[in-house]
């Protein structure tokens, strides 16, 4: 994965609340068996409006999306993260995210930044005319107008994003701990350890 350190650029002043993953990528786009090319289907219904943000000359290709509360709710489809990535989005800022979406975003190197509603409202205003800067190392979102919004992020996620680390590889290195646990389960809860044959 690409390391994420500083993200600077124009941001979609989107701001909508409860944007579900069916809106981010409708189900008829889920039939792929690879991860690429889903940007074309991103926000498909909204993009039927010729004046939509995502195809506007001003915002198209922006690396940041500023959204409303509960972004990415609904279906667990990781295609939502792939679609945003394919659109060129590297970070989403919102007052809250669905748990599944933020996990999916992280695993694909998309930074999700949780800020209070007032800060998000301000960023939506700024984004209409000016760029936004996200500094992951120092955990702060800033604007050209002296706004500075510090944000919290899980230490492990931050470490992985800053260094572009692959989580599966990191866990595979814990093989002996996993094997020890499996031995314990076989001993204490054998009914869970017994699986099904292919």
């Amino acid at each position: 994965m690409e390391p994420v350190q500083q993200i600077e650029g124009r941001a979609y002043p989107f701001g909508q609340k409860n944007v579900d993953t069916d809106v981010i990528i409708p189900s008829h786009w889920l039939k792929t068996i690879t991860r690429d090319g889903l940007g074309r289907g991103a926000f498909e219904a909204l993009r039927k409006d010729p004046d939509n943000l995502f195809d506007s000359a001003e915002f198209s290709g922006s690396p940041i999306l500023v959204a409303g509360d509960n972004f990415g709710c609904g279906s667990s489809r990781e295609h939502a993260a792939w679609a945003l990535l394919d659109l060129g989005i590297k970070a989403v800022i919102a007052p809250s995210f669905s748990d599944i979406f933020s996990g999916n975003a992280f695993k694909n190197g998309i930074l999700t930044v949780v800020l209070p509603q007032e800060a998000v409202d301000r960023l939506v205003e700024v984004a209409k005319t000016d760029p936004i800067h996200i500094d992951l190392e120092n955990q702060v979102v800033s604007t050209p107008f002296q706004d500075r919004f510090p944000f919290e992020i899980d230490a492990f996620r931050k470490h992985c994003l800053l260094n572009g680390l692959d989580e599966v590889g990191l866990t595979l290195a814990r093989d002996s701990q996993i094997a020890t646990f499996e031995g314990k389960v076989r001993d204490e809860r054998p009914f869970l350890a017994r699986g099904v044959a292919a």
């Binding site: 230490a155 499996e182 699986g195």
Partner: protein, 490 residues
């Protein structure tokens, strides 16, 4: 020296005298290791795989030269893309699937499962069905187990007292490769439903009502334990329905403490523990309840007397009304962005503020989905339809059983005849019109009384208007051609 079977094992991270919630007990029993940053590596006991969210995970394993760590804890079943019409011709030959991309995903699962040594239930097997119906039905899903699937309705299995939740494709890959997930412990919420539900009120109405009370994001960051007399009184099928929709109020997972009903449901199923294993399992499962004095981060109490047969009016599952209610005005919401969303919903749904929701004409009926396609759901729908016919304005009405075994059971009980005689179509099992990845879609601008779980814009097809209801209410709507209070047909 082996420990006595079924003995309670002291778990890491919790001293035995601290009262713990059900969630904490299951969590503690699955910690491989705790990390300094507050996350834990959690062992996954059961992994359900379907064709939509797995191809890219298998692709990644293949590219990295990685194996599936525990193929024996993994079960693959196609469900989302399968047509619900016949899958084999008279000669037993597979009928080709018209949509090339659907066929490609199904084909990928059919190839990936054996290539990675995973048990596969095929499209024409009697056991095939929706993953969340098949898991409990086969005894693959067990109380106290951690269960994941690349599907947000995995919370369903919490109805058995399993810690079950949906994951994305990268997590599917992570579980396939390591049989673990790196997780942060969620907050806990108790949703206690007290009293007794009235006639015509079902598990679906209970969970729709809860979603209306909590809102679509009310449970975000939490695992919800559903408690109270109403939950205890529900059948296992009903509990699966409630837990299934935990995600619709934002919760990571839903949980219902296992009890004698749960054990009776699980016992004897194909993959359920047997003999000595069974005794050990029941001994452990019996300990899986929140201790007296255990505290939740949040508690919500709901009075069953407030729950009527329910229906959604908008495009979020939180947009719930009793069938006796009127469509709300956008300005009735305190939150400004909800006002905007409500207006958009009304425009999309073709409804006007102040209009009674009962009597709204529908053209389609869908009885099915992982929420409501079990035998009890089909019995409830058939009870309303028996001796009646669907209204003429209902152009398309399908009943899609949750699995081949549910289908066989329904046919043994003659329910298929009830549906067919009433003018409904009796289909093959799958996800179907819940999300329209297969050919079962609701036409643009038309309404559907649907027993599924999401009324999102375009969910059942572009422009489709979904009203979420219980199976009995869907059957009532089929009979009158309108959203109808099922109690009027009693």
């Amino acid at each position: 020296m082996k420990r006595p079977r079924g003995a309670l094992t002291p778990q890491p991270m919790a001293s035995n005298d601290t009262p713990r919630t059900l969630y904490h007990k299951i969590w503690d029993a699955h910690v491989v290791e705790n990390r300094d940053d507050g996350t834990s590596l959690i062992y996954i006991d059961r992994h359900l795989v379907h064709e939509v969210t797995s191809p890219q995970a298998f692709e990644a394993l293949r590219l990295a030269g990685r194996k599936v760590r525990r193929p024996d804890l993994t079960l693959a079943v196609p469900d989302h893309n399968l047509p619900t019409t016949a899958r084999r011709d008279a000669a037993g030959k597979r009928i080709p699937i018209a949509d090339a991309e659907s066929a490609q995903q199904l084909d990928a699962l059919e190839r990936n499962a054996p290539a990675f040594g995973i048990r596969y239930i095929g499209d024409a097997d009697r056991e095939q069905g929706i993953v969340h119906v098949v898991g409990p039905e086969q005894g693959f899903s067990l109380p106290g187990a951690t269960i994941v699937c690349g599907d947000s309705h995995t919370a369903c299995h919490g109805g058995l007292g399993a810690l079950a939740f949906g994951i994305g494709t990268s997590e599917v890959e992570h579980v396939l490769a390591t049989q673990t997930l790196l997780l942060k412990r969620s907050k806990t919420m108790e949703v206690r439903v007290e009293g007794q539900i009235g006639p015509g009120v079902t598990a679906k109405d209970v969970v729709l009502h809860i979603t209306g009370v909590l809102g679509a994001s009310g449970g975000t960051g939490h695992v919800i334990e559903y408690t109270g007399q109403v939950i205890r009184d529900l059948s296992i099928e009903g509990r699966l329905t409630v837990s299934n929709m935990a995600i619709e109020h934002g919760a990571r997972a839903g949980l219902i403490a296992p009890d004698e009903k749960t054990f009776a449901y699980v016992e004897g199923r194909p993959f359920a523990p047997k003999g000595e294993d069974w005794d050990a399992a029941v001994a452990w499962w019996t300990s899986l309840r929140s201790d007296p004095g255990a505290t939740y981060d949040k508690v919500v109490v709901i009075d069953a007397a407030d729950i009527a047969p329910s229906v959604t009016w908008g495009t979020s599952p939180e947009d719930v009304l009793p069938i006796t209610g009127i469509v709300p005005a956008p300005e009735s919401f305190a939150d400004a962005s909800k006002q905007v969303a409500a207006q958009k919903s009304l425009d999309y749904m073709g409804l006007a503020a102040g209009q009674p929701i009962s009597g709204v004409e529908i053209q389609n009926v869908f009885i099915g989905s992982c929420t409501n396609s079990r035998i009890e759901d089909l019995r409830a729908a058939a009870a309303v339809l028996r001796g009646r016919k669907k209204a003429d304005n209902v152009k398309w009405a399908i009943v899609v059983p949750g699995s081949g075994l549910v289908k066989a059971q329904a046919e043994a009980e003659g329910l298929d005849r009830v549906f067919i005689d009433a003018g409904l179509e009796w289909r093959e099992p799958g996800c179907s019109a819940c999300l329209g990845m297969n050919p079962d879609k609701v036409p643009a601008g038309e309404r559907c009384a649907s027993t599924s779980n999401r009324n999102f814009v375009g969910r059942q097809g572009p422009g489709a208007r979904t009203h979420l209801v219980s199976p009995a209410m869907a059957a009532a709507a089929a009979v009158t051609g309108r959203l109808t209070d099922v109690r009027e047909l009693a």
